[in-house]
Symmetry: C2
Subunit: 377 residues, 2 copies
């Protein structure tokens, strides 16, 4: 089957690019001697995850549904990298009873007390990482915050028994807002140093804290040192996207995801092509709006995946996209109704989440497989 | 079962509010003597659609998957309100052979020629509405455009045979950008007058054009005249959302959708509550960003659905929300970890699309049903 036989819109995954992206990060991390614990929230697909490593290799998830799905598909070493809500502990227990070795994270004493009590009451071992905030973008305690030791003190278990301090986790999410590779290098070092410092404080207080987990796709690609780090997490690197391109982390021809769509009409005097891929197919993500080059809802390529010079998706309704030359409406080619286009997304996680499957190609337009993906909680 | 027994995030639908919203639009349209053809792209659920009318009543869809699903559930009078891509005609035919009376729309001669030829070659009757552009926001031909008659001339069938000119369709999507109810009233009249004028031109050229279809949730609620209109389309009115609230079309306590989430942490010095509803649960839609009152990613309510004064979701990661007082971080109440909140969405279509089901309540916190909804194409 060929791409032009599919009913649009369709999420297309170029496996050749994906495999190259995966190999690139593996090769980059190899000299550092750290484990890669890929974040499968981006792909939500056992077929994709198998390209990252066989079931049994460590993964990171953002929901317990992801944990459950990947457990069902043979993965057991799972880090749930969103602060645990105490009400989710019964679900955690069900997964643990089924064989998951689930590591939790938290950043406050209330959650630590609840998790510790639950583990004790239910005879569960629960490794816990304290979430560290190294860039102010979201959750976590600062590396030097007295709260770090107070939280750890509430985790009364030890390795093999109860909820115990397995280490620390940091995520330099603010690296998405960097404006240069030098800034990403600095952000990576800030992430590393903060996580290592927090782990050191825990160890000085008597906790084993064997795990020092860091990561984001930008910092994973630009860290100069990973001294003291035991594992690196990243998710978007598998597919890449326009935000990563805007950060200088990848080229446009590294981007493995695109949305295949069809031209359904024109507004010729405005230089608009109307397509059948709207925000439902691309997501509402406008991550490049804050970057030097705003790619609208996506960069437009031909059926073979080659960018059509400066054609971008400038606006979106639910099932309509508006495509135009970036700056000069008169320069938009009035491609005939029926023309197939492929739109590179701003944000791989968000665009992929709008679809139930990947149409897999390998550098050309032949469809070699359909890989299902899931959503929801 | 109660809302506090559900694992968050969860999409909550208040059926009491929904039923009131549906009754309101029905009552408003009754004196005009027009049909209501609700747009089910917002709800994608037979359970919701049955509240709008029994299977058999007219509906509007935005994808052929919606058409197929609603056909499977007994609806047959279906308007597919996105310009037809010729490559989708075999799918249209399959639905027609299974009993759908599917009306198509288009706005260009290429699609008209292809549709006409397909209908002729396959012995299909296909009623077609020519899409009219009354506000410049998207697709369609202007009411006075010579192209209108050229397109119609390519549709060679007649009622009962082939692809034929069943009328016109206009959608005042630009009404979402209005800044006053007077502006919406004017927009509704512009939509009506443009559609009626286009239909008149078609009739003068010898086409039957019995259907004059208009609609958007704002214009449906504010039109002063619907003279010459045969049917009104609207979708968001069933649930309403913060964009509609910002337009003055509804109050916040008319909004029937919310996302139930859990407080999982704090950044106290910034006045932040961290929740487990990120953009995956809310969507990336920031529709209120362009309105006088920017509601961030949503307006925060307590478990009972009462707005917590000026608490909004100011930012979102994939599975994390950041909630803060709108203007004064120090005024954010540091609600304990585990607190359940309900977030009213900017855009009902976009938020609902992120979920696989509705947890249905009726004005309180008791869950009376779980209604599945679908996504994809």
């Amino acid at each position: 089957m060929q791409l032009n036989e599919l009913e649009t819109p369709v999420l297309v995954l170029d496996r050749t690019r994906m495999d190259r992206n995966i190999a690139r990060l593996r090769e980059r991390l190899a000299p550092f001697g750290v484990a890669l614990r890929p974040h499968v929230k981006t792909n939500k697909s056992a077929d994709v995850a198998r390209r990252l490593g066989p079931p049994g290799t460590p993964i990171t998830v953002s929901t317990l549904k992801e944990a459950e799905y990947f457990l069902d598909h043979g993965w057991t070493d799972i880090l749930y990298a969103v602060g645990i809500a105490p009400s989710k502990l019964p679900h955690v227990e069900r997964l643990a009873r089924r064989g998951a070795r689930l590591t939790l994270i938290l950043d406050n004493a209330e959650a630590a007390v609840a998790t510790s009590a639950y583990a004790l009451d239910h005879g569960l071992e629960l490794p816990v990482l304290v979430e560290i905030d190294t860039d102010g973008h979201r959750s976590g305690v600062k590396p030097e915050d007295p709260a770090l030791l107070e939280i750890a003190a509430r985790l009364s278990g030890r390795e093999g028994e109860g909820a115990w301090v397995a280490g620390v986790l940091a995520h330099a999410g603010d690296s998405y807002n960097c404006r240069s590779t030098d800034a990403i290098v600095a952000m990576a070092e800030q992430e590393r140093a903060g996580a290592v410092r927090a782990a050191q404080r825990l160890r000085e207080a008597g906790h084993a804290a064997p795990v020092v987990s860091v990561g984001s796709t930008p910092t994973a690609h630009f860290a100069r040192s990973l001294d003291g780090i035991t594992e690196v997490r990243a998710g978007v690197f598998v597919f890449f996207d326009l935000v990563m391109n805007g950060l200088g982390v990848c080229r446009t021809d590294d981007i493995a995801l695109s949305v295949l769509c069809t031209v359904i009409g024109h507004q010729e005097e405005k230089g608009w092509l109307i397509t059948d891929a709207g925000w439902m197919a691309m997501s509402r993500d406008r991550g490049t709006a804050r970057q030097p080059v705003d790619q609208g809802y996506g960069l437009v390529c031909d059926l073979e995946g080659r960018p059509l010079q400066d054609l971008v998706m400038i606006d979106a309704n639910q099932e309509h996209g508006i495509v135009r030359h970036r700056t000069d409406p008169a320069a938009t080619p009035m491609l005939p109704v029926g023309t197939l286009l492929r739109i590179l997304p701003n944000h791989a996680c968000a665009t992929a989440a709008q679809h139930g499957a990947y149409a897999v190609v390998a550098g050309d337009t032949g469809v070699e497989a359909h890989w299902p993906r899931f959503g929801g909680w």
